[in-house]
């Protein structure tokens, strides 16, 4: 039998329906692959093989009767940020030690409703704060990719580094992820996978550990555009339990994948042409535009004048919201407690021991910008700049642009423990320079593999869409996927 883990999610679905194999066989294949790979890659922080087999058996029963949901029997990995009932949910943080929620997040509940099987919980940057998956309490995720002729370990990107690595290394058929400033799209670009951050409000935030509530959005990482579309259809939907969930119908995203780009206008923002941008990124971007043109799209130069202010505004808004959201970790209700001489001492010692350095740094920044005397100068100012960033996009869409094409990241994946990045927090933050605007404006954005750098490492392009028009993104991303035609799978070394 062929290696079942190498099938796309769409092909696995067909195979299950045709009874070429069972959900239990498929699940066992993934469990075996995880056992073999995880000591090297560290993509999973917890595995749930017994639960997975039970879920797979239930799926086989339904499939046997010709029943079952859209993802019946499909084994998935779940980012550690999503609450899963009775299962490890710690946002890869020490402060949530031992936390096993009594409830299920809406996004994962939607996936189980449609028949998906849970393989376990995926590693990530602590509280989704990071761009390299090195801030996890559980240690870094190692990318399945290596530069040609090198044995050096690379980062898979972050914060959804476990999700991206597990999908690329065939340790799940697809994964859930979240994106606050680029945390789905940047790791997808680094690992040759497809990741989409839906429009803000498309997926419920209920039961997902909060980082920056006005920016956080869940989405899938998958090996193909079609697989990502299948996952997103199940993950999305109105949820009365999330006050920012939007009550509109969920389209069949997979039906839009082969729609093509004929007649679409693709915007090319000049502000994304950064000084010192590597020539190979520049080339990739130009190629992407040619591919879209060849399929009937029109390319139009546009200006998004406030682009350069998105990242600094983000580093006010996101830490401010994080400092408020993370106030709940106090050693009383769940997780770690470090005893002190009085209650304030207990809070301070618990939070000092429980949060990692990056999380503490962001809480400190957030606390500062919200503190008396600074609120208007920082937070209110940043929210005004955010209005301008959103208006830039609105103006472009009003002028007839259907989607915008940009690079996904300023470079390919970098090494674990990169010293230049470790010593300068701002240098690491620059990884999100192309993705963060999308969160600030609440728009959908997809990263799709489009080429490789000189060392054979994957590079991605990003498409940005109108609010709730993810369908156009899937269609355009599919054109890039087909045109790139490359093999973006890693060479197995683990």
């Amino acid at each position: 039998m062929t290696d079942l883990t190498k099938l796309s999610l769409a092909d696995a679905r067909k195979g299950l329906k045709d009874k070429s194999f069972t959900a239990l066989e498929l699940t066992d294949a993934y469990i075996g692959a995880i056992e073999k790979a995880n000591p090297s890659l560290n993509a999973y922080v917890a595995t749930t093989p017994d639960q997975a087999r039970e879920m797979a058996k239930a799926s086989d029963e339904k499939l046997g009767k010709g029943q079952g949901g859209a993802l019946e029997g499909i084994p998935l990995g779940i980012k550690d940020l999503f609450a899963t009932k009775g299962v490890h949910t710690q946002a890869a943080s020490h402060i949530l030690d031992g936390f096993k929620p009594e409830y299920e997040s809406t996004v994962t509940a939607n996936l189980w409703r449609d028949g998906a099987v849970m393989l376990g919980k995926l590693n990530m940057d602590e509280f989704a704060m990071g761009s390299s998956n090195e801030t996890s309490y559980y240690g870094p995720v190692i990318s399945p990719f290596r530069a040609e002729g090198s044995n050096a370990n690379l980062v898979p990107g972050g914060s959804s580094g476990g999700s991206a690595a597990a999908v690329a290394a065939w340790l799940c058929a697809g994964a859930t992820a979240t994106d606050t400033g680029g945390s789905i799209r940047q790791p997808a670009a680094f690992t040759g996978t497809v990741g989409i951050k839906p429009t803000y409000g498309r997926c419920s935030r209920w039961g997902t550990v909060a980082f920056a509530s006005s920016l956080d959005q869940a989405g899938p990482i998958a090996r193909t555009v079609e697989d990502a579309a299948l996952l997103m259809t199940s993950m999305s939907g109105f949820d009365p339990k999330d006050s920012t969930s939007v009550d509109i119908a969920v389209p069949d995203f997979a039906a839009a994948v082969e729609r093509g780009v004929k007649g679409l206008t693709i915007g090319v923002p000049k502000e994304y042409r950064m000084d010192g941008m590597p020539a190979e990124i520049e080339k990739l971007w130009a190629e992407g535009l040619e591919w879209l043109k060849a399929e009937g799209a029109t390319v139009k130069d546009i200006s998004l004048p406030h682009t350069k202010y998105a990242l600094p505004a983000y580093y006010i808004v996101a830490p401010a919201e994080a400092s408020s959201n993370l106030a709940r970790y106090d050693g009383v209700k769940y997780g770690l407690r470090v005893s002190g001489k009085d209650i304030t001492d207990m809070y301070e010692l618990t939070r000092a021991a429980g949060f990692g350095r990056e999380v503490k740094r962001r809480i400190m920044i957030g606390t500062y910008v919200l503190s008396a005397g600074y609120f208007d100068a920082y937070y209110v100012k940043a929210q005004k700049v955010r209005t301008l960033i959103k208006k830039d996009f609105e103006d472009a869409f009003k002028a007839g642009v259907d989607a915008i094409l940009t690079p996904a990241t300023p470079s390919a994946a970098f090494g674990i423990g990169d010293e230049a990045l470790a010593s300068d927090p701002v240098a690491m933050y620059l990884n999100d320079v192309f993705t963060v605007t999308v969160n600030m404006a609440g728009l959908p954005g997809i990263a799709v593999p489009a080429g490789k750098d000189g060392q054979g490492l994957p590079l991605g392009l990003q498409l940005i869409g109108k609010p709730f028009d993810e369908e156009t993104l899937f269609a355009a991303a599919r054109v890039i996927e087909k045109s790139a035609g490359g093999d973006f799978a890693p060479k197995q070394w683990w």
Binding site: Y200, L311, Y315, G335, V385, T387
Partner: protein, 95 residues
Amino acid sequence: MSVDAATVKRIGRLARIRIEEDEVAGYQNELNAILGFVEQLGEVDVEGVEAMTSVTPMTLRRRDDVVTDGNYADKIVSNAPLTEDNFFMVPKVVE
């Protein structure tokens, strides 16, 4: 704007994170690097611009004022480090 050592300690107290003496300088450098980076927002003219309150045009939904959930105190305290009779236990707050 930049922060001094005393401000770092004050932020730590406000955030309820113990900052040890030997950590102050490190945090001070990092916070000042980030504050230096965000300083460029000063260039943006925001005269007459409204601060964003919601990224999607929406009014917050209302629901009927009725009890829809609850009566499982045991579940709520099930993850707490220290409990007794379904109460969270903390060090004495009032002398």
